[in-house]
Amino acid sequence: MEDILTVDKLTKTYRRGFIPKPVLALKEASFAVKKGRITGFIGANGAGKTTTIRCLLNFTHLDSGRFFFFGTPGFGSEARKRVGYLPEHPHFYGFLSGFEFLKFYAQLSGKKKQASEIMDALEAVRLKEAADRPLSAYSKGMLQRVGLAQAMIHKPELLILDEPMSGLDPDGRRLVRNILLEVAQRGVTLFFSTHLLDDAENLCDDIVLMAQGKVVYAGSLEKVLLQSSGQHLLRFEDEAHALHQEEVAGLDKANHRIREILASGGRIVEVSRSRRRLEDVFSQWTGGPS
């Protein structure tokens, strides 16, 4: 599968404090985002997710490393036309109505949009009814959705979102999640940072896991959930046809236990690898509490 974004050894140091001291925010972070996939960018607060995104979008300058959007180095004018972005908790011009707001961002993107197209964009984020209302009257969830609409107004191929579901109530999160799934179904590649592991587990095909400025895992979510668990789940019936369930660590032990059950006259009903939660994987990789 084609890599739509390739990141190679990004390093970034900030200088903080009255007497500026260097703080390492990113240390040789490398990963790739595959076309048409939903990639979660996961890490605790301060892990370096936002810094990475800001480096990729040229908001901050790199110390070293390189990155490619659509195979082209850097974030040039061509990439800008093909990428949409929504930061975490942004403030929008409150005096603009939802319609005017999208029209402004469409014009800024160099796209001349018909009124019907803007209304469609609002419809896609369930805000058609609020089109004429000023953004200052929007709720937090509505602002997040109109923010999503501005990120998508120029029909980007890659959508980069910084904590898109952070600070929303459960209904708001579900709504945003559904919108993101719809966007992904249209073939848009999604790359979003989050520390909400449930959302990442429900949405993502791939994950990039960051801890203390380093990428500790980048790849398939399914693979890491299965790989990280050495447990096998055995469901079997004994000779009296009573159903049992056992968890066995390691493949060899599982095989040995299966032979024991069969030898004692039992029947194997199901053997499967236990699938761990992303939360467990996260704790394991980042050294947090398990």
């Binding site: 990428v83 975490e88 908790h89 942004p90």
Partner: protein
């Protein structure tokens, strides 16, 4: 160019709703009305006194507005993260800076126009019709404010807004005291003072160039050529400071 004008337009629309602007306009109105009353108390020169006072208040109001709004123009958008949704679009940081400048400069133009209109009507009420003189002074004040906006936009690239405002006020005062500084330099043999004078005159304009209040009050006529030359000189200073601001903006890390 279109992106630049879009930023200018949205900046103007945003700033026109600013409470600072409304507050300063109210203060200007109140003080101007007070000046009319004060003028009536004087035995002579009522119109000249009211006009002088009104133009001074207008000057301070628009300069204050330029410094306060200009100092936070960029930093506020970084803090609120609005800038990130803009700069991810096909918009250069230089275009962003110039757009912000144009938006605020247009607002100051509009505010100055409103104030001058009020003063023209006040003078009409007092029986004098000084519209050309008052508008000329307003024009000079707008050029001066636009230079100050460019200066604070430059300073705000590396200073926090309160420090930027402080430095802006200091430069405003220095800009109007160049003649005094030159006089002191001539009278005082201190080499340090001379170096300070030379450096300041090199890096900052003499703002008295655009202060036409005195000429107008005493009925001196400013030719269109004079106005055009002063405008051109102002544009050069604005351009220089905006160029530096854009240069720093391109290089800085945008951190909320």
């Amino acid at each position: 160019m279109k992106a630049l004008l879009l930023i200018a337009s949205v900046t103007f629309k945003e700033l026109i709703r600013e409470k600072t602007l409304h507050g300063l306009l109210v203060v200007f109105l109140l003080i101007s009305i007070f000046s009319l009353i004060l003028g009536q108390l004087s035995f002579a020169e009522q119109v000249r006194m009211s006009l002088d006072f009104g133009l001074s208040v207008m000057h301070l109001s628009v300069v204050g507005l330029s410094l306060i709004l200009g100092a936070q123009l960029v930093q506020r958008e970084i803090d609120r993260k609005t800038i990130f949704t803009l700069l991810v679009k096909p918009l250069q940081r230089t275009q962003y800076i110039f757009g912000k400048f144009l938006g605020l400069s247009a607002l100051i133009f509009f505010t100055t126009f409103l104030c001058t209109l009020f003063l023209v009507l006040s003078m009409r009420y007092l029986g004098q019709f000084y519209w050309r003189e008052i508008f000329t002074t307003g024009f000079g004040q707008w050029i001066e404010c636009s230079i100050l906006i460019a200066v604070v936009l430059f300073l705000s690239q590396f200073l926090k807004p309160p420090v930027t405002i402080f430095c802006g006020v200091a430069l405003f005062l220095i800009g109007h005291w160049f003649e005094t500084l030159r006089f002191l330099t001539q009278k005082n043999p201190d080499a340090g003072l001379k170096i300070l004078h030379d450096v300041l005159t090199f890096v900052f304009p003499n703002l008295e160039i655009w202060n036409w209040k005195g000429m107008v009050i005493y009925g001196e006529f400013l030719s269109p050529l004079h106005l055009a030359a002063a405008f051109g000189q102002g544009l050069l200073w604005m351009g220089a400071y905006l160029f530096l601001a854009a240069l720093l903006m391109e290089r800085r890390d945008l951190i909320a």
